[in-house]
């Protein structure tokens, strides 16, 4: 079945550690890729997105993600996390430029001060 997979359910890091959250998808065709973040008590908001061009995209708050087409992956990275990055992170895929947006199950990130 077509899906979006996030490998880590819960990640716990200390401040200043590096972060990489995995995301793989199984859809064919043209894909638009997104990472959303949900801070405690807040609504989902866009962290970064990839439509085309440079496969390394930079988002807000020092986050970046790399699209690797051959691996069907779009992993999220941050070189040095902060306590304020504690949140839930969701990978999402939109296929063939339609409006069918599918989400992964999410990864909960806890950053210890």
């Amino acid at each position: 079945a077509q899906s979006v997979s996030q490998h880590n359910h819960h990640v716990i890091l200390s401040e200043a550690a590096s972060l990489e959250l995995g995301c793989n998808y199984s859809y064919g065709g043209t894909v638009n890729l997104f990472w959303y973040v949900q801070y405690p008590g807040q609504h989902l908001q866009l962290l970064l997105k990839y439509f085309s061009g440079d496969p390394l995209v930079k988002g807000i708050k020092g986050f970046e993600a790399e699209f690797i087409k051959s691996k069907f992956s779009f992993n999220l990275r941050k070189p040095s996390v902060q306590w304020s990055d504690t949140a839930e992170y969701f990978c999402a895929v939109n296929v063939n430029n339609n409006n069918d947006m599918r989400f992964g199950a999410g990864t909960r990130l806890t950053v210890k001060p």
């Binding site: 908001q45 430029n97 409006n99 989400f103």
Partner: protein, 113 residues
């Protein structure tokens, strides 16, 4: 610019009672989504509207769930009767047509006792 507005934010009802959620999307966004988010899970699409037309309602449990978007602007999602398993957050999102990012409301948290 106002974001996606949802109400109520919280609702507690007893099983078998009806409940309704309202969503007003961002002005000019012709695509509106209702997602279900269970605890620890990613958003799952219930229904997607393009203007007034429900273009994808394949995941909507039609025996008890209904939705409408009569004038192509705001939308209502109804559950009748509610069951214990319906306890979740109901998210509304909107965007312009074409596969771009979604803008989410803060969600309506339903607790069924």
């Amino acid at each position: 610019e106002a974001g996606v507005v949802q109400s109520p934010r919280y609702k507690i009802i007893e099983k078998k009672q009806p409940v309704a959620f309202w969503c007003n999307p961002i002005s000019g966004h012709n695509t509106l989504y209702w997602y279900l988010q269970n605890l620890g899970q990613g958003p799952e699409l219930l229904i997607r509207y393009e203007n007034e037309e429900a273009v994808d309602d394949s995941q909507l449990p039609k025996d008890r769930f209904s939705a409408e978007r009569l004038k192509g602007v705001d939308s209502t999602l109804k559950i009748q009767p509610a069951e214990l398993g319906d306890s979740a957050v109901y998210l509304c999102a909107s965007n312009v047509k074409g596969g771009g990012e979604l803008f989410f409301g803060e969600g309506s948290r339903l607790t069924v006792l």
